[in-house]
């Protein structure tokens, strides 16, 4: 089982009956996996804050609840995250937050442990797959015992490592009665009463941390003491199997006495932690001084056994071969026939400034498309485009996917309409959440469990908020797309172009009969325009381009870019992929 699957298994065993989240690597598979269990009502919500709010309601209503998101999702859900602890929960409430050190699929590195401290929320972090299962069960007991939300942190490495898991049985937890008490919620006058209680709760949680079985000392060499947590614990065991180790499973609040007693046994204690020096800083604030941490273990990227060994002993890390041989980078790219390629091929000729958003289409910023100028966070494209207009840019286009638009794009579009900013937005509607692996959303017509659901009518939606200029286009038709974008830019108010074509990787699209294309070398003038499509099926040959026919799905974008009609459908009988060696 992967770490994510183990978390789902553990949540099911803990008696979770409601789970909500928004897809985000590396957290996505928890909810996808949980959806397959009997007795769990799991759902994709519109965004992380919505999921968190729904989860709060469910937990206050008395059922065990899981809410899932990636690190940046917690930024979106930060508002309820910070306020919920004041009221406290009724049924067990756990928010799973998956950090991505190394930025394998993220725009930033963010150590979410600081959120736990800021929100005064207890924080657990497992160190391997099976512990992920058992620890999330403990998280629910902790949550109910202290009537507090609990944060459960993982990282990419934990989430995507497969290991051996011993599944247990489900504990059915009866619904806890909800007793209305308005003094727990709402207005400042009550919150002021709650504030000192929060500190008292934190103190009790600190006492719990001293006894908690997930904070363990593993005796070893009395001369070498290491404090560690999570996946870095595995690196420590790999490279320093004999050391005396304090492994922290509860990272906030920390067990003050336990740490002090442990550190008193050694001249010097190493703190091996990934990302920022959170534990180290907490220890410093407790007055523990014989600590070496971030001086030796980088806060940039992901740690590894090599880096931990280097930090402990000063041993050099094996270098890669890139100085000796051309190890060319291989960034991901858009698929053959990707509808976004059509949109970007059309945009390139228009010489517009393009504000991007979060999704597969972010890859449009890479060569050869070079079609996106800015990318920040979910939903940012539209507001950014409006801002560029305010700064005097005349031709600005925001590109945003269907799932992202529903997540957090809509308020920005409303602001553009309300303030009559001539923002042009292209909705890249591929009928799915593509980047994270095809999750359903409120516009796809299906639920997480693939059951039929109402689907958002995007044209009606944007018209209803006051966008007057709305066109729907097929992004494979480059000329139509170009004309539509030009018309939208010329419109004096906000305008929306819906580029609608399903993701080519969706099963129903893959099943479609396709006629691949080929290059007619006699007609080809080697102008290289076709390469601008960025299509992975179009291969740069020694003289002429050629098309890997098993990959080509016949979108004909390259043929539209060709000025001399040298790219044609394959006639029947021509062997496919004949150039492969």
């Amino acid at each position: 089982m992967s770490g994510n699957e183990a978390i789902a298994q553990g949540a099911w065993e803990a008696g979770v009956t409601f789970a909500a989240g928004y897809p985000g690597t590396p957290s996505t598979e928890v909810l996808e996996s949980l959806a397959g269990y009997e007795g769990v009502d799991a759902q994709w919500s519109t965004n992380e804050k919505v999921a968190f709010d729904e989860g709060m309601g469910a937990a206050l209503g008395g059922i065990r609840t899981l809410v899932t998101m990636k690190h940046v999702g917690l930024n979106v859900a930060a508002d309820p995250f910070m306020v919920f602890p004041y009221a406290g929960t009724n049924g067990g409430f756990v928010v799973l937050v998956a950090d991505d050190p190394g930025m394998y699929s993220s725009q930033n590195e963010q150590d979410s442990r600081y959120f736990a401290k800021m929100g005064k929320v207890p924080l657990l972090e497992p160190s391997d797959t099976d512990e992920a299962r058992t620890m999330i069960r403990e998280a629910y007991e902790l949550s109910e015992r202290f009537a507090s939300p609990v944060m459960f942190r993982t990282t990419t490495r934990l989430a995507h490592t497969r290991g051996i898991v011993e599944p247990g049985a489900r504990t059915d937890v009866p619904r806890r009665d909800f007793s209305p008490d308005s003094t727990r919620y709402a207005i400042p006058v009550y919150a002021r009463f709650r504030r000192p209680e929060l500190e008292e709760k934190l103190e009790s949680l600190g006492a719990f941390a001293e006894e908690y079985g997930g904070n363990v000392v593993e005796e070893g060499d009395p001369a070498v003491g290491i404090v560690t947590h999570g996946v870095p614990y595995q690196y420590v065991k790999e490279v320093a199997p004999d050391a005396t180790v304090l492994r922290l499973g509860m990272l906030y609040p920390l067990p003050e006495q336990k740490l002090k007693e442990f550190c008193a046994r050694f001249d010097k204690v190493f703190v091996v932690e990934e990302s920022e020096g959170f534990i180290q800083q907490e220890m410093a604030s407790l007055g523990i001084q014989n600590v070496v941490g971030k001086e030796r273990f980088t806060n940039i990227g992901e740690l590894s056994a090599d880096l931990v060994a280097a930090g402990l002993t000063g041993a050099p890390v094996q270098e890669d071969f890139s100085k000796e041989v051309a190890v060319l980078p291989r960034p991901p790219k858009m698929c053959a026939g990707c509808p976004h390629s059509g949109t970007f091929s059309a945009l390139r000729k228009l010489k517009v400034l393009v504000t991007g958003d979060i999704g597969c289409y972010t890859l449009g910023c890479l060569p050869p498309l070079n079609a996106i100028d800015t990318t920040f966070c979910m939903g940012a494209s539209i507001g950014n485009a409006s801002g560029f207009s305010k700064a005097g840019e005349e031709k600005v286009v925001a590109v945003i996917g269907d799932s992202t638009f529903l997540h957090s794009g809509l308020p920005s579009l409303m602001s553009a309409v309300y303030n009559q900013i001539p923002t042009t937005m292209i909705l890249l509607d591929n009928s799915t959440t593509g980047m994270t692996g095809h999750q359903e959303h409120p516009g796809t017509g299906h639920t997480l469990q693939e059951a039929p659901a109402p689907s958002v009518d995007f044209e009606a939606l944007v018209r209803s908020i006051g966008v007057e200029h709305v066109t729907v286009m097929d992004p494979w038709e480059l000329k139509d797309m170009r004309r539509a974008v030009k018309d939208a830019l010329a419109h004096p108010g906000p305008a929306v172009v819906i580029a609608r074509r399903a993701c080519v990787l969706l099963p129903e699209e893959k099943a479609r009969e396709r006629i691949p294309y080929r290059v007619d070398e006699e007609a080809c003038i080697q102008c290289d325009y076709c390469y601008e499509s960025g299509c992975p099926a179009l291969i740069r040959g020694a003289e002429y381009p050629w098309i890997r026919e098993w990959e080509c799905i016949g979108c004909d974008i390259c043929a539209q870019l060709c000025p001399v009609d040298a790219i044609l459908p394959v006639e029947a009988g021509t062997p496919a992929g004949s150039k492969e060696g």
Binding site: T129, T156, R157, H160, R162, E238, F321, A326, R330, P332
Partner: protein
């Protein structure tokens, strides 16, 4: 039993994850502790993908430290170079004789066609397997990953019947015959001692 470290690398879409899952399940079925640490997500779309599979008595780090990999299985030639430094001195590199040009970035150097020679000069045992070409011959270019897995299996001490059973359990029925054929072809190439 010492830990055996395998690193599988390739291009998103080539089946790195599937082949590493089959390997991990086979090792598990053979009674070993197993960890599989993989990277996926964005790289599904034509980017570099890797997966570490480690098995033995007790495995800690999900990723093998650099310079300790016993077998590097590269589904593409450039990817063998990208992860070559993970291989232990004298370790084995099993490489698909297949080239996928990456997206052109700022790096103006051309694709290194002499990569296999470079790895041989580094002292690794380089086993070149024409996996993609063979896969096309037996009916589907996508089976290259399983051909390479067959070539790897010939180097490991996991019994043949464990592999057979794992393939049956993990591969969907409609693709099973093709993959069994691919696995056998890869294994045969190494056993016969004349890959490439």
């Amino acid at each position: 039993m010492a830990v055996t470290n395998v690193l599988i690398a390739g291009v998103g879409g080539q089946g790195v994850i599937l082949s590493s899952e089959v390997l991990a399940l086979a090792a598990l079925a053979d009674g070993r502790d197993v960890k599989q640490g993989e990277f996926h997500g964005v790289a599904q779309r034509g980017g570099a993908v890797f997966s570490h599979v480690r098995f033995g008595d007790r495995v800690h780090s999900p990723m093998t430290p650099k310079g300790q990999v016993d077998y590097l299985l590269a589904l593409e030639r450039l990817e063998a170079l990208r992860y070559g430094h993970f291989v232990k001195p004298g370790g084995t590199v099993i490489v698909n004789d297949h080239k996928v040009e990456p997206v052109r970035m700022a790096d103006v150097r051309s694709y290194p066609d002499d990569g296999n020679d470079f790895l041989t000069e580094k002292g690794f045992e380089v086993v070149v397997v024409p996996a993609t070409a063979t896969a096309v011959e037996i009916g589907n270019h996508r089976a290259a990953n399983v051909i390479l897995l067959g070539a790897l299996a010939a180097h490991l001490d996991i019994p043949g019947e464990v592999w057979d059973k794992t393939l049956e359990e993990r591969i969907p029925p409609r693709l099973l015959a093709l993959n069994q054929k691919a696995f056998a072809a890869g294994r045969e190439m190494v056993v016969a001692g004349k890959p490439g």
